[in-house]
Point group: C2
Chain length 339, copies 2
DNA sequence: TTGAAAGCGCTAACAT
DNA sequence: ATGTTAGCGCTTTCAA
């Protein structure tokens, strides 16, 4: 049996309420009693029972983070940032994996009993469709990551994907590349990073007066490295020339890079390549990978902030959903002729 | 206010206990009442309050996983496996990062109040020293990952690092390489993967009748990619010839690979390279990276199993600590001339 | 400034 | 087969 408030109270010869006050730094307690209580706490090695506290207060001190997959470097690094940010505020993070695009899992996760373990959820949706938007109304604080489910009535952190996609493309155009391929598109989708980055891609081409060739667009469902390799093989098999490549994330880029090299195609001389996400690996590939840095730390901070404001009631439920955008920047490495 | 057992009970016209029985599938409840209760539960959208349940039962349904860093691919992929394994058993995982080698953080994490949020902990120690071994006696279920703190009186999952280190080295020897370098050693340490893998390395050299050259050993504290690059530069600056390289993990290997290529050294023709951990990236580097697969899924399964046996009391506290070893295998890819 | 007591929602021992 | 009830350890209202 572990020590309770009661034990401490009788040990210190005060009431349970006084101990509680000392523990929580509330109310006015005379310096002398406080001292005595603190002493008893130390002697008895008292530690508050968090379950009891949650039951009473309705708070758990835990926030949930639901992402597609931890083994994707981007999400692992994002989770890292969120955990760090949460810790800074005395919170702890429960990670749930939705496994790429599993709608049922995502819904279950939103409504399942496990939500109760957390005070709020940071959620990166992937498989849910617009028809499911209403299901996001889960009555507990929620922050969305990314642009899916755009009509959701919920706080959200995004990055300027259109602008970033355009900037990435422009960095290729600036090298004089005119036949620019793109892998990772989701042509039939209506929302999501793929759609927006592609939009930026198209805009940049137009602005640069460069033609968009349909044969240079490769769709890829899940942005895994293996699919990047597959997409590149597909592109090469089409037999169309290209001198620039925009991969919608770094995993795709690195998978594609591998195939380009197998085929003896030089990067960046023959094909300039830029990815997206700035995962650590890109710094050490050969050539190192140019990319777009989405500001992971900012995203994590903003998401935790938004969530905490709702949890803490600093921002009432009445307040309309807010949308925060992280700053981004293009990083020019060897794969686009940088250093 | 959310629905409680009471609400359901009165709605269904039965006692609270009956509802509890239905919810937990315990006791005998007639099919008719069960039906009625289930119906009320659905109508009222009742969901059990997990805090109350924890307070009462002393279980939270959460297990902790403490690892150095999520942004290291190995740990991200391990966390993925642990979450999956836990989920299979209806548990959820709280991840804490110890940030490479911070002893104080590790201790705080073991004893801190957050332990209360979990029923048990899977812990990959790094910064704690042998003097701290006693501090592992935290009175709640604990499973250690790896070989540090060998005297700890605790369940543990390891991999056969000596044998695996030897096997990796042997795969280099089998190619006829005789000047084999190693990066990632911790020469002054007395325990840990670095020590054991190095031991295997030395053994394999001896068994192969090949001399060990001190100048071919590079120490690296944290096994990050950037440190792999740094170690390789250091090795090259020594101006000693080598035709094989054993990197103690894949991150180091990939960092080193990058530098080798910068210097125009061909892998595997000039230097055959093998890493350790089988992280996903190794399949798509160029050349693809030979490595040792430590059986991540097995490790996760074993760790969760051991923990649950202690949590559930299937295995009493009296039972001596158990040690499970995962199977490993060497994967021969391009960096050692495989495909 | 401190104390007494109610009750958060649940489980389980006991009673019927 | 179902109902009653006593807490789990805490916070908090109210009273002293």
């Amino acid at each position: 049996m572990s020590t309770t408030l009661h034990d401490v109270a009788s040990h210190a010869g005060v009431s349970i309420k006084t101990v509680s006050n000392v523990v929580n730094g509330l109310g006015r307690v005379s310096a002398a009693t406080r001292e005595r209580v603190l002493d008893s706490i130390a002697q008895l090695d008292y530690r508050p029972n968090l379950s009891a506290r949650s039951l009473r207060s309705g708070r758990t001190g835990v926030i949930g983070l639901a992402i597609p997959e931890l083994s994707l470097a981007y999400f692992a690094q994002l989770a890292d940032a969120v955990i760090e940010e949460a810790e800074r505020r005395g919170l702890v993070v429960l990670i749930e994996q939705t496994r790429g695009g599993d709608r049922a899992r995502e819904l279950e996760l939103l409504r399942g009993p496990r939500r109760q373990l957390t005070d709020g959820l940071i959620f990166s949706p992937f498989g849910m469709t617009e028809d499911d938007t209403a299901l996001l109304d889960i009555g507990s604080p929620l922050v969305l990551l990314g642009e899916r489910l755009p009509d959701a009535n919920v706080d959200r952190v995004t990055m300027p994907n259109v602008e970033a996609g355009a900037a990435a493309t422009t960095s290729l155009l600036r090298l004089g590349r005119e036949r620019i391929a793109v892998i990772g598109a989701h042509l039939d989708a209506r929302h999501g990073s793929a759609v927006l980055r592609y939009e930026g891609f198209v805009e940049a081409l137009r602005a640069g007066g460069v033609e968009l060739h349909d044969e240079l667009v490769v769709e890829v469902d899940l942005w895994h490295r293996s699919n990047g390799a597959k997409a590149m093989r597909e592109l090469l098999s089409r037999g169309v020339a290209f001198d620039g490549l925009f991969a919608m994330n770094d995993e795709l880029a690195l998978g594609a890079l591998r195939v380009l090299q197998e085929e003896g195609i030089d990067v960046p001389a023959d094909v300039a390549l830029i990815g997206f996400d700035n995962v650590d690996e890109g710094r050490f590939s050969r050539p190192s990978l140019s990319t777009v840095d989405p500001g992971r730390a900012d995203i994590a901070r903003m998401a935790v902030d938004l969530l905490l404001e709702r949890i803490g009631g600093t921002v009432s439920d009445e307040v309309a959903p807010r949308e925060l955008r992280s700053p981004f920047c293009v990083i020019d490495r060897e794969s686009t002729g940088g250093d």
